[in-house]
């Protein structure tokens, strides 16, 4: 359903040199599939998400490659065609629900606005649809939420309202950019359950962006690991968690704070971590971008960048260890 080929996004910040935030990215999402995008901050996850909706800021001076959504090439669309697409076919959920909601408009009206923007339906009909949706989303008091202003809701309720906004037109792809990061742990787990529910009920495809492997493990079928603007590994969730291939993925998974088996407490010890910091966008990269932090670096690593190697079961990895 979504096919991205050779996508490169370059920024030119004011008065500074051009930098590539996303570099030669290929991936696809099948309809109804939940795909996770995993990586540390600054690796290009959000830029990638924004480029799918063509919402990049003006400093993005170059977008190359192709993004096919069904049979439509998104990079070739004009603004009015994009408006018809956004919210109706592809929608986005941002990290902070506070910023996504209009503070001076009742929540129910805001959700109804999305329907009215895309369908020539009557006002009453829209509102009825929204009420029905809020009921489905597990609000205990849907009527109050409908009439409330965003500041009268808790963080979790606001995020549910934003989710309602994103799915009210039954889009075929929902992009969720760290949708639970700002939430408390118990609320976070409720929202993740809600996502799983929606996946089953609406047959919507999800692109779920997170820096936490443990969160992705709960909701997605397949994980793309991103580092320095490139996708360095791609595999089914179970595979990647059981046998990560790329040294970066291995390191990242080792950093997850685990409670141990059956919740048993693991005594204090030195935690595994990845030394150093990810490269900034302005850092010059020779060879593999992960080489300076990699525990398994070899001679080849500085010479050139590894190619993507396709392995069995639709796995892919960019590392010389696997012949890249």
């Amino acid at each position: 359903m979504l096919q991205v080929r050779g996508l490169t996004v370059r920024y030119r910040p004011e008065g500074r040199a051009e930098v590539a935030a996303v570099n030669q990215v290929d991936f696809s999402i099948a309809s109804g599939e939940a795909v996770g995008l995993l990586g540390e901050s600054g690796c290009g996850k959000t830029t990638l998400a924004l480029s799918l909706l063509r919402l990049l800021p003006a400093t993005a001076c170059e977008v190359r490659g192709s993004i096919f959504f069904g049979k439509t090439e998104l990079l070739g669309l004009g603004e009015s065609e994009l408006r018809r697409l956004r919210g109706a076919k592809i929608s986005m959920i941002f990290q902070e629900p506070e910023i996504s909601l209009n503070p001076v408009m009742r929540v129910g009206q805001q959700i109804a606005e999305v329907i009215r923007a895309h369908h020539p339906k009557g006002r009453q009909q829209c509102l009825d649809e929204v009420r029905a949706l809020l009921d489905q989303l597990g609000f205990s008091d849907a009527h109050r939420i409908f009439n409330a202003y965003p500041h009268q809701l808790s963080g979790g309720q606001r995020q549910r309202a934003v989710i309602a906004q994103a799915i009210v037109c039954k889009p075929s792809l929902v992009i969720a950019d760290e949708p639970t990061t700002a939430l408390d742990p118990t609320v976070q787990s409720e929202i993740l359950t809600l996502f799983n529910d929606l996946k089953a009920r609406f047959q919507t495809a999800f692109l779920f962006i997170s820096h936490s492997p443990a969160i992705l493990a709960k909701v997605v079928d397949r994980i793309l690991v991103m580092y320095a603007g490139r996708i360095v590994e791609e595999a089914e969730t179970t595979q990647i968690l059981r046998h990560p291939l790329h040294p970066y993925t291995v390191g990242l998974l080792r950093c997850v704070f685990e409670l141990g088996d059956e919740g048993a407490f693991r005594p204090r010890r030195v935690l595994p971590s990845i030394p150093g910091n990810p490269p900034g966008p302005t850092d010059l990269i020779h060879g593999c971008p992960f080489e300076p932090r990699c525990p398994e670096r070899m001679e080849d690593c500085t010479a050139r960048e590894p190619r993507e190697v396709k392995l069995e079961d639709s796995r892919g990895v960019r590392c010389f260890k696997y012949g890249g």
Binding site: L252, E258, D261
Partner: protein, 273 residues
């Protein structure tokens, strides 16, 4: 085991009894204000060189607790004892001494660091405030503190904006350490950092605790992280501590229903591995 018994009998460094904090809320012009109880009857003690983690969700009163202990906020009632001295009615000559002993590290290092100063000036600021050493001396001590937190002294003249998120938090930590404190309050100090950086920072914190005999109060909503750093955990909800025990006990045998819910909500890789 022997070491364990010794720790148990040692005098606590910090002891808090019946600590309460009420805020008046309501419109500016409202005649009637209503009271919000941010903390009510909080009690705990922390042994020297150990870590107590306070966990809970937003609005539980964790940050109010941190601010009361650091004396940024005046508690409504209760007692705070530090090394056997009551912090709330301290003679004025001892106040500076306490400020030197207790340091606070905030969640968001970007807003906690003055962008107009260079890294080394930021770290040296507490020394200036406490009137210590000459200018050259202060710079020297600030650079040493930066080195302890894993920042290269060569970066001393950079602006904090040139540092990454993890490095900024190291800088905030260096500033907290420069006066040689004994008690560090870390208020969500690692939240918002990447996992790999969080793990680096936990290692650093444990390292510094061991070498400098520090005592930590670690405030967090992240139970998985807490299980790796704390000796004891206190679970807070609506201004009160509802459960407090050793870390291993809390995770193996949580008593309170709310604690059980919190532990169950930790996202885990377990089901796939």
């Amino acid at each position: 085991m022997v070491a364990d018994i010794k720790l148990q009998t040692e005098e606590p460094l910090v002891r808090v009894r019946g600590l309460s904090k009420r805020y008046a809320q309501g419109h500016w012009f409202a005649r009637k204000k209503y009271l919000i109880e941010a903390l009510s009857g909080v009690e705990f003690s922390i042994r020297p060189r150990s870590t107590l983690a306070v966990v809970g969700e937003s609005g539980a009163g964790k940050s109010t607790l941190a601010r009361c202990l650091a004396r940024l906020e005046e508690p409504s009632s209760g007692e705070i004892w530090y090394e056997g001295k009551s912090l709330l009615d301290l003679p004025s000559k001892d106040r500076l001494w306490v400020r030197r002993q207790i340091q606070l590290v905030f969640q968001d290092p970007t807003s906690a660091l003055n962008p107009r100063l260079s890294a080394v000036e930021i770290v040296a600021e507490p020394l200036v405030i406490h009137g210590e050493g000459s200018k050259i001396d202060r710079r020297e001590r600030a650079l040493t503190a930066m080195e302890q937190t894993g920042l290269s002294p060569q970066w001393g003249d950079k602006s904090p904006l040139e540092f990454s998120g993890g490095q900024r938090q190291r800088l905030a930590l260096a500033r907290a350490l420069v006066l040689g404190p004994k008690f560090l309050i870390l208020d969500e100090a690692l939240a918002g950092l990447d996992l790999s950086i969080q793990a680096q920072m936990v290692n650093l914190l444990l390292d510094i605790q061991a070498t400098q005999a520090l005592t930590y109060l670690y405030i967090s909503h992240d139970l998985a992280l807490v299980s790796n750093i704390a000796d004891e955990v206190a679970v807070m909800r609506e201004g009160t501590i509802i459960e407090r025990c050793r870390t291993s006990e809390l995770f193996n045998n949580p008593r309170h229903l709310y604690t059980q819910q919190l532990i169950a909500s930790i996202p885990r890789l377990g089901s796939h591995a």
